[in-house]
Symmetry: C2
Subunit: 290 residues, 2 copies
């Protein structure tokens, strides 16, 4: 086959990928070709615009290293990450809704005991976090693994300032007690802009969009026999709840971070300054039978 033009090139490429040995590779390749060509046919890029697109993708790739993932950021800001999340995580009654993982998760978070302070010496308003982990049918899950991470009071994560603070902070791994309960101290997180000094920032700017995410604490919760839950709990009242740049906010994931007066906290700690208290009770979805 030869003599390809606007009317026959798509069929020609589909004909070429139809011999993929793996049926899933064939399915994805065919869909990619159809949708990519339909996009090109609709926007009719000039040669210069096509070159600009090649350069944009190249710069996005060059921005990726072991500390930054610009393609995930592109997926997040185009709503693709939340769409993939929605497709993969239908939520039954009683289970907590999911949202994006984000780029700041670290597998090697330090193991902490229930009640510990995980702020790592960072300054900010003290925050007491309490909650439970249950099955979506309400049964407590003793020993569930709870990983948490969040930004500081200026919106920066530990990994963005490791050079200055020298250690991980505001992140930990806990195990729920016999009743599925957990609690820990940290500092209240702030809203922050996603990294916007690269190609994705350039795109957001061209699209007339701000780069901000509303303040939140990340949770990843796992237990044998349950689907891993990846979610955030957002701070009620944040100004970016309705314009989160990565489309991650759900009403069920917003909670009051309640301001409390100085004095004895529910866990017995004495505070001579005001502090905040967040409580969230998580529901895990039983794993699909295999």
């Amino acid at each position: 086959m030869r003599n390809f033009d606007e009317t026959n090139i798509t069929e020609a490429v589909l004909d070429r990928v139809k011999n993929a040995p793996n049926p899933r590779v064939r399915e994805i390749s065919e869909a990619l070709v159809r949708h990519l060509h339909a996009f090109v046919r609709e926007v009719r890029p000039t040669q210069t615009e096509w070159e600009w697109g090649i350069d944009f993708l190249t710069r996005t790739g060059h921005m990726c290293d072991d500390k930054r993932q610009e393609f995930i950021l592109l997926s997040d800001t185009l709503g693709v990450s939340m769409l993939v999340d929605a497709i993969n995580h239908p939520v039954p009654e009683g289970a907590t809704e999911t949202t994006v993982l984000g780029p700041f998760y670290v597998t090697a978070a330090p193991e902490k005991a229930i009640g510990d302070d995980i702020s790592g010496g960072m300054e900010g308003d003290p925050l007491l976090v309490t909650g439970t982990v249950s099955s979506s049918d309400g049964k407590p899950i003793a020993g569930a693994t709870i990983e948490v991470w969040h930004s500081d009071n200026e919106g920066y994560y530990d990994v963005q300032q490791l050079g200055e603070i020298g250690h991980l902070a505001m992140r930990a791994r806990f195990h729920a007690d016999a009743d599925g309960g957990f609690r820990f101290w940290s500092i209240k997180p702030a809203a922050y802009p996603v990294p916007h000094d690269g190609p994705v920032g350039q795109m957001l700017n061209a699209q007339g969009r701000h780069p901000w995410r509303p303040a939140h604490v990340h949770f990843m919760i796992s237990a044998p026999g349950y689907e891993q839950l990846v979610t955030h709990v957002f701070v009620a009242g944040d100004q970016y709840l309705d314009s989160d740049v990565v489309f991650g906010v759900k009403d069920s994931l917003i909670r009051d971070y309640v301001r409390r007066s100085p004095g004895r906290a529910p866990d017995g700690r004495m505070l001579d300054l005001p502090y905040y208290h967040l409580n969230y009770d998580f529901g895990l979805k039983p794993a699909a039978k295999r």
Copy 2:
């Protein structure tokens, strides 16, 4: 806006990009979101497949440097480059058809005189190339700039082996004579695989495709008042004419590279070995009035 799921996320993202100050940015952003989301909805990637996609794009970006452009190769092998070419270059009667630029064009090709040998000492079957440059209405274009480049007899370009040969070869810039004519000597090019040791090679392999292009000589021809012509002339009989990995072959661009017996060539050169002769008469399209 919040609470995004599979049914409303696309509208939400479209709503976010509608404030792009530049209407063309808005148009391209909206089409990108619609087609990208439609692709994701159709293939319903698992979280693992999405991660694989992110990693594929990242590795493709990391493979790009000043000597290699893996995203252009991806565009070429998915038929996108030829589609963009077709959209931008409708060809009127009498004008030569276009095809892809490819990754081996170099702006700094050496200036040569009509009749020169541009092989740069590379071994191979001698090739005499002759031709003319005219307007699509048949009028000769005196002084037209003709840039040519091609592979050696094993399918490698000079820039892929600069370390060994130490200089550019098999590429030059000429100016047509008063009758629009040109001629030069070089060596007969061979078919070759596109670079396939990276992500694109991995994709081709997964799709059950070979990475080969049929043998050809590249031409880029310019003259004041005419659209620049970017094309190849392919070698008739090549085994890859019907399966060019970048979909670039058109019948009108195939010519016999005619084998001639030793003796005096049309330009007077004496050859004691057989040689090949290619003739192609190019037609340029008048530039659009502004």
